[in-house]
């Protein structure tokens, strides 16, 4: 019995180790992901994003409780930023969720954003998938709502909840940054603070003017997560959104779209890697690069030259297939 079987049998350590494989981007990732292909869509994905301090973790903590009260199981991926200076990170979201530490129906995993290789979104997405494959009914993905990459992660979610709080400039920033575009549900947390009514009114107006879907009106829910106010309503809205997605066939369509876009992403990344790799030792390619660098040729003409060079393309193809062979051997072993 291997680690994936163990995970399917409910072994928490095996599940944790599988998540480490994703976290560390080890070569076993493709193999692992192919093993859970059939099970990864069993559960439902909920994304929570919003600025630091908006109370996301507390909201997620109460959402876990809500889901558990319905006798359902939940996985959580809590993402915190990696320091660009040291590569380290402080993953503090567990503090808010420690009441569930001993609940076998809850599995919480903290994740750092790590490098910028584009591997971030994949590791996080795959972590969520494995959590669902392990039998969780829901998987919550919590991110710091800054930057395109994290918006991208939340986009994996079937329902995306954007968390705002009154009386800060963050909300306006969020609107400007386009974060509202990804919201299926907007939560105004800390709704006992002044400015709540105004913020809700502004949001309603904005949503009214920019309705994205005919089949879903984005609701605004006021919560006070620390007092457990509004949590039930939020969960009901998520369920409502889930039903609408199912009824309209949007859920299936969304998953299809996600699969293809991930596939394309992988293709793109690999081709890019092969090409980048070749600039180290392919003399012909290097010469073109040097000419571009010196300004002797414009980038458009240079690109035309590259794609007209059959030998260069052939060498790239060879590189690609040798990589495939190496990887095949590794996986077989």
């Amino acid at each position: 019995m291997d680690i994936v079987d163990k995970m399917f049998q409910g072994d928490r350590l095996a599940l944790a180790r599988l998540l480490s494989i994703l976290e560390n981007n080890t070569p076993e990732v493709p193999l692992v992901m192919s093993r859970i292909q059939q099970n990864q869509d069993n559960g439902y994905y909920i994304g929570f994003t919003g600025a630091p301090g908006s109370g996301k973790s507390t909201l997620v903590d109460k959402m876990i409780l809500q889901i558990r009260n319905n006798n359902l199981e939940v996985g959580v991926v809590a993402i915190d930023p990696t320091s660009p200076f040291s590569g380290g990170a402080i993953l503090g979201d567990r503090i808010r969720m420690q009441n569930h530490a001993l609940d076998p129906g809850v599995f919480i995993r903290s994740l750092a954003t790590r490098g910028s290789l584009g591997g971030l979104s994949r590791a996080a997405k795959n972590t969520a998938r494995i959590l669902n494959a392990s039998g969780k009914d829901y998987c919550i993905i919590e991110t710091v709502g800054v930057g395109q990459v994290e918006i991208d992660i939340v986009d994996t979610a079937d329902t995306t909840v954007v968390v705002l709080m009154p009386d800060t400039g963050d909300s306006i920033q969020a609107i400007k940054a386009g974060i509202m575009e990804i919201a299926d549900i907007i939560v105004v947390n800390k709704a006992d603070l002044k400015g709540t009514d105004q913020l809700i009114a502004d949001l309603m107006l904005m949503l009214h003017e920019n309705q994205r879907h005919s089949w879903w009106q984005v609701p605004v829910i006021a919560t006070q997560a620390d007092k457990n106010i509004g949590i039930k309503e939020l969960f009901e809205k998520i369920e409502e959104h889930k039903e609408v997605l199912k009824d309209t066939g949007m859920l299936v369509a969304k998953r299809k779209e996600q699969r293809v876009s991930e596939f394309m992403e992988i293709i793109e990344q690999t081709l890019l890697d092969v090409i980048l790799e070749s600039q180290k030792d392919d003399s012909e390619f290097c010469e073109i690069i040097n000419n571009v660098m010196a300004g002797l040729i414009d980038p458009y003409s240079a690109a035309k030259k590259v794609f007209g060079n059959e030998n260069l393309i052939k060498r790239w193809m060879m590189r690609l297939s040798s990589e495939i062979l190496i990887e095949r051997r590794r996986v077989d072993a």
Binding site: T58, I90, I95, N99
Partner: protein
């Protein structure tokens, strides 16, 4: 005036000359100086100048009568009283307690024999957090960092043979259990045949400090503020001359001395506003306050304490309309821990003595100090005796007690006092903009400041930029071994038996009635103290009373642990 201006111009030109002709070449010889922005606990945060002159006083527009004045007079910079008794310049306190009440009673008697003037009872963590020794959360912690105290019987044992009025004062932290600790002292006095005006109790009772720094809280923050202020109101209404509450800077020392005092002022403002809201006038209760200061290095310590006295006096007069000088003259408490190290622990005797000397020079009213072995365990008798002797040596063998506020008028100290005052007020303004102490704590501001400065200090130690003698420089290969205190391993068992026994002996119907009364009062706005006092008299346990509070007010959720 013109004469003065002429004089200053002359000083300025001579100083410029001196800098050019003497200082600059001398500095070149000395080489680059060690970074002056020292980041120690309660140390200077900003660089200091080479020398200070009358020009620095001119810069702060120094006015003796306005900025300093006389001891016992507004703005009380030189102290709350006109003079001090050179024989007893301050109260020599000792923080003590561990194991069972019997163990601690023995230690108290030893300390009092050695000359301690006030015992500050150190309670163990379960007691501080409102758990009896028989609670599941108490396992492993009973009697470790302090004495385990559950019922009035324990207090009777703790002070057996020590009448409360035989000490100048007696104190306890009790920040989250303020009304209960307070009630224990009253009920114990009754048992000893004393009325509250025959002895003085010094309660720390600073609930907010727990949420901001020490983390012994167990109910939500707002009800905790109410309970703490109930004690102050009770004392005010009974005209008691106890110390009902401290605004503590001490535990925030890591944030820097000015930020720490701003936190203390913010907490004081929260308590005061709460009490004023209840209809009391500032002069009815301000005298019950005390500031637990921090600032152990000589010049910063002296300056910051002078600045704090001034800020308090002005705040009382201008913000709260106090008329009674007693409200404006704040008394100060200080605890010296210095940058004590676990390495070469005897060095700590020197460190702690120097810190204590700072407080003596600053005219602090109540002083206690850490023992040299504090970083390793509970003090041994020998180490505790050195604590007491340190203060006795300063009080009896030096000239410090004879002159009040000896640094007044120093170009350096006066300009530093002015600067620190400005810095404290700046931080305080920041906190008030956040909505005050509660919001600042809940927003993680206090903790963040302490951790930020702590980081700087840790990095300073690690790189050696901040020397720590015997630790990052002058370390030894073989650490000297000193004898350490060892705890009797049977403490928990003894405590369980004692609680079981008292629960059998007491009138349990009466206890239930009293606890119901506590519950009923907790649900209203009424003062909790009388109900708690009755419960304590009936031998209700601390844990039982706290359980009622948890029930009524809810439990503090550590999931809210403010930021990291």
């Amino acid at each position: 005036m013109l004469e003065n201006k002429k004089k200053l111009d002359e000083i300025k030109s001579k100083k410029d000359n001196w800098e050019q002709e003497l200082l600059t070449p001398a500095l070149e010889k000395v080489g680059p100086k060690r970074q002056q922005g020292v980041v120690g606990i309660g140390h200077l945060e900003d660089p200091v100048k080479e020398i200070y002159t009358p020009l620095d006083l001119e810069e702060i527009d120094f006015d003796y009568l306005k900025d300093v004045g006389f001891p016992g007079e507004y703005p009380f910079v030189r102290g709350s009283e006109p003079t001090k008794d050179p024989g007893n310049p301050w109260i020599n306190r000792v923080y003590a307690g561990s194991g069972t009440p019997e163990d601690s009673n023995k230690r108290f008697k030893f300390l009092l024999k050695e000359g301690a003037e006030e015992i500050v009872v150190a309670a163990d963590l379960p007691t501080q957090i409102g758990y009896d020794a028989d609670h599941s959360m108490s396992v492993g912690e009973v009697g470790t960092v302090g004495v385990s105290l559950s019922t009035l019987r324990d207090w009777e044992i703790l002070f057996d043979g020590i009448p409360l009025n035989s000490m100048k004062r007696v104190g306890i932290l009790g920040n989250t259990i303020g009304p209960i600790a307070f009630a224990f002292f009253i009920a114990l006095g009754e048992k000893q045949g004393l009325s509250p005006d025959e002895y003085v109790v010094h309660l720390q009772n600073d609930a907010l400090k727990e949420y901001g720094a020490r983390n012994t809280q167990f109910i939500p923050i707002r009800p905790a503020v109410r309970l703490a202020t109930d004690v102050v109101r009770y004392c005010a209404e009974k005209r008691m001359n106890w110390n009902a509450i401290n605004a503590c800077a001490a535990h925030y020392g890591g944030a820097g001395t000015t930020a720490a005092h701003a936190f203390a002022f913010a907490a004081a403002i929260t308590y005061i506003d709460y009490i004023v809201d209840k209809g009391l006038h500032i002069d009815d209760f301000a005298y019950l306050f005390n500031i637990f200061t921090i600032g152990e290095t000589t010049f910063t310590g002296v300056s910051v304490i002078r600045a704090v006295r001034k800020i308090w006096a002005r705040m009382m007069k201008e913000r709260y309309g106090a008329k009674d000088p007693r409200s404006m003259a704040i008394k100060m408490t200080a605890y010296t821990v210095a940058e004590a190290s676990a390495q070469q622990p005897l060095n700590n005797i020197v460190r702690i003595a120097l810190g204590t000397q700072t407080y003596a020079l600053a005219g602090v009213d109540y002083i206690f100090n850490a023992s040299y072995d504090e970083g390793l365990s509970i003090p041994t008798e020998e180490a505790a005796r050195v604590c007491i002797r340190t203060q006795q040596i300063l009080a009896k063998e030096t000239e410090i007690p004879f002159v009040i506020d000896p640094f007044a008028g120093s170009y350096f100290v006066e300009s530093l006092t002015a600067k620190l005052e400005k810095d404290i007020l700046h931080y305080l303004e920041e906190i008030e903009e956040m909505g005050g102490a509660i919001d600042a704590i809940e927003g993680g501001y206090f903790q963040k400041k302490v951790v930020e400065q702590g980081m700087n200090r840790t990095i300073g130690y690690a790189t050696g930029d901040k020397p720590h003698v015997g630790v990052n420089c002058h370390a030894v290969d073989q650490e000297p071994q000193i004898p350490l205190f060892t705890q009797d391993s049977g403490v928990a068992k003894k405590r369980l038996e004692s609680i079981k026994k008292i629960k059998q002996e007491r009138d349990n119907t009466k206890v239930t009635q009293c606890l119901n009364k506590v519950r009923q009062v907790a649900q209203t706005d009424e003062n909790i103290v009388p109900a708690v006092l009755d419960a304590v008299r009936a031998y209700a346990t601390l844990g039982e009373i706290c359980d009622v509070w948890r029930d009524v007010f809810g439990t503090f959720e550590f999931t809210k642990s403010y930021s990291i």
